[in-house]
């Protein structure tokens, strides 16, 4: 037994962390434990990858199996990190078709959360780059599923948060790129209305995301920096860059001290940080060439940044609101946050596109994500945000959740009951359970 939590260090459970090395061992563990849940690299914020009593760490299932240099189809085991895929294949001109905001996630985690990237409005979620997935079910049988074969299993596994079984392998399609650089355009938006206008105007951009200042109120409510991006072609690069288009100068990464004192992160420092970030960004607005790491994974340069919130940990709130209620909904959310004065360094606004899988998070509309240090007031605020989201027809991202109530989830998302029913009938429940699935009755 050991202390186990997600990226937010909240909540903390006592669990056994087992690291099987073979399929046979995995079968044995599924059969011999009352319930298990798979764990990838622990980047989900809350308790999605925490199984009490038993959690199955997939780190030994980390082999790349084959690559087709004609089509870009990569077959790999579920414990391979997207970062490793990038290290191996970007120098050869390939990049994952969908990446979340950190490259330190496993293939299994990306599938189970059906992650979305800055190109969701254009290319859809992670499932759209999957050819097939192999899943070990409650009986220890491994089934291959795809949009053509075992379709039901495929549909519920993408976004199923490990609750349909253990993902062993998958085939994913990489996209061709001509450099490791991104052509970035930064557009300041004075308020929420302007930010949404920019997103709607920029539907053709491959990548788009906005950093939003959640502490600004009044006429500046929702002031943002919208960042659009395209993979840079050789013609976009300087002579030096174009000569070696996949070579990125290394800056090295910094590490946050083990536990950063949480008093360093009070309302004033966040406010100052946000204001400074906005004005620096606004001054640098315009077009620039950025390396892929800085564009897609800015936080990864600061290893262990989750510790800046101190021992009590932090929680993320992420919801999506349907397009037609996004404006009033976002306004209400931002007003509540700004009034409470509890914003964070990391508030992100993004336009999502349509999504047609049964249990994935995205829907056509706008998603807002922000972090809070865990305390009584922020937990209260997040409950208020839950209510506002539900009132505007929105739903919540399980990969970020660590504290929602069962009633909140089921009120927001009628699909949850269907998912839970399917799990009961198929025997996936009780074999596969996380602390989160128990909390949320999934």
């Amino acid at each position: 037994m050991r202390r186990l939590s997600g990226w937010g260090n909240y909540p903390v459970s006592q669990a056994q962390l087992l690291a099987p090395r073979s399929e046979a061992e995995l079968q044995g563990l599924i059969a011999s434990n009352p319930s298990v849940i798979a764990r990838g690299n622990g980047r989900a914020y809350g308790d999605s990858a925490v199984g009490v009593p038993a959690t199955l760490h997939m780190r030994h299932f980390d082999k790349m199996i084959s690559f087709d240099a004609q089509t870009g189809l990569l077959v790999a085991e579920s414990g391979v990190l997207l970062g490793d895929i990038i290290s191996a294949f970007l120098p050869r001109g390939w990049f994952p078709a969908v990446v979340p905001g950190t490259k330190f996630v496993t293939l299994g985690g990306a599938i189970a959360a059906d992650v979305h990237g800055k190109n969701h409005h254009k290319d859809g979620s992670f499932r759209s780059c999957l050819d097939w997935v192999e899943v070990m079910g409650p009986d220890g049988t491994v089934r291959r599923c795809s949009p053509q074969e075992n379709t039901e299993l495929f549909n519920w596994t993408a976004g199923g948060m490990g609750l349909t079984g253990v993902i062993l392998r998958a085939a994913i399609r990489l996209r061709r790129v001509s450099s490791a650089w991104i052509r970035q355009q930064t557009i300041p938006a004075a308020n929420l209305h302007a930010a949404i206008e920019i997103f709607e105007r920029s539907a053709a951009a491959t990548y788009s995301v906005a950093w939003i200042d959640c502490l600004a109120g009044g006429g500046r409510l929702g002031r943002s920096l919208v960042m659009l991006g395209e993979h840079a072609g050789l013609q976009d690069l300087s002579y030096d860059q174009a000569a070696r288009p996949f070579a990125i100068p290394r800056f090295g990464s910094r590490t946050v001290p083990p536990v950063f004192p949480s008093f360093a992160l009070n309302r004033f420092s966040v406010r100052a940080f946000n204001a400074a970030y906005f004005w620096t960004g606004a001054r640098k607005a315009g077009r620039q060439i950025t390396d892929f790491d800085s564009y897609f994974f800015p936080l990864d340069a600061l290893l262990g940044w989750n510790r800046i919130y101190g021992r009590k940990g932090f929680a993320q709130f992420q919801c999506v609101l349907p397009l037609d209620s996004a404006r009033p909904g976002l306004r209400a959310l931002l007003q509540a946050i700004s009034a409470a004065g509890q914003g964070s360094f990391l508030a992100v606004l993004k336009r999502l596109g349509a999504q047609d899988s049964p249990f994935s998070f995205p829907m056509e509309g706008y998603t807002l994500a922000l972090d809070f240090p865990v305390n009584r007031r922020s937990l209260q605020l997040m409950q208020d945000l839950d209510r506002i989201t539900i009132a505007h027809g929105g739903r919540f991202y399980l990969a970020k959740d660590s504290r929602m109530s069962r009633d909140t989830l089921h009120a927001a998302d009628s699909r949850a009951a269907e998912f839970a029913g399917m799990r009961q009938l198929s025997g996936m429940h009780p074999s596969f359970q996380s602390a989160q699935s128990q909390r949320l009755s999934l």
């Binding site: 690291a19 790349m64 199996i65 490793d84 290290s87 191996a88």
Partner: protein, 245 residues
Amino acid sequence: MTKSPVLILGARSDIGMAVAHAYAAQGHPVQLAARNAGNLEPQKTDLELRHGVPVSLHEFDALALDYHERFAGALPELPGIAVCAVGFMGEQGESEISPAAAARVLRSNFEGPASILSVLASRFEQRGSGTLVGISSVAGDRGRATNYVYGAAKAGFTAFLSGLRNRLARKGVHVVTVLPGFVATQMTEGMDLPDKLTAQPEEVARAITEATAKQKNIVYVRPVWRLIMLIIRSIPEAVFKKMSI
């Protein structure tokens, strides 16, 4: 410039595999030697896909001394660097009552590794270059009740490496002794090791590539182990024999 191959003896070991990845990432071809080498095919493919280097598999048993010459002769190319990760902890309790069990621990950690490194040493000496890396253990720095058979074998191996280094120092061949401290691997799975003192296999691999590049002689992976062992070695025997550590 094409880089010289790196040979990993005991390649299925977690440390050995981490070393293989570290060198492959630098562009070195890799030769994986292990018992039942055939079932390392997935590891071979993974290394090749990730790092774009050629990887070959070689059947190798450290205890089959008679075959060591033939094994070395059959390698597609004499490696520039050879890393021996072969080791076997056994059960101390069993080693105390069964001479056969004790012999297996002694031979797997000392006789076998010493034999294959001797064979390679002569070939490296003849060529006038190369680095031999032996993974020994701090357990060999002082015998303790809980694992002295394993410790004794590692003590022998450490002394052997030091002599080999001395012999080859003026022949262009370098010898590195690695004393990893605790490492989170198959060997220690299920043991309750203190986090701060326990290295990951990747750390050991980094220490090995650095030590090889800088021609270091003896490396402790986490520096704190140098201090711990300094203290443990200096405890008077009269006191030490009554301690349980």
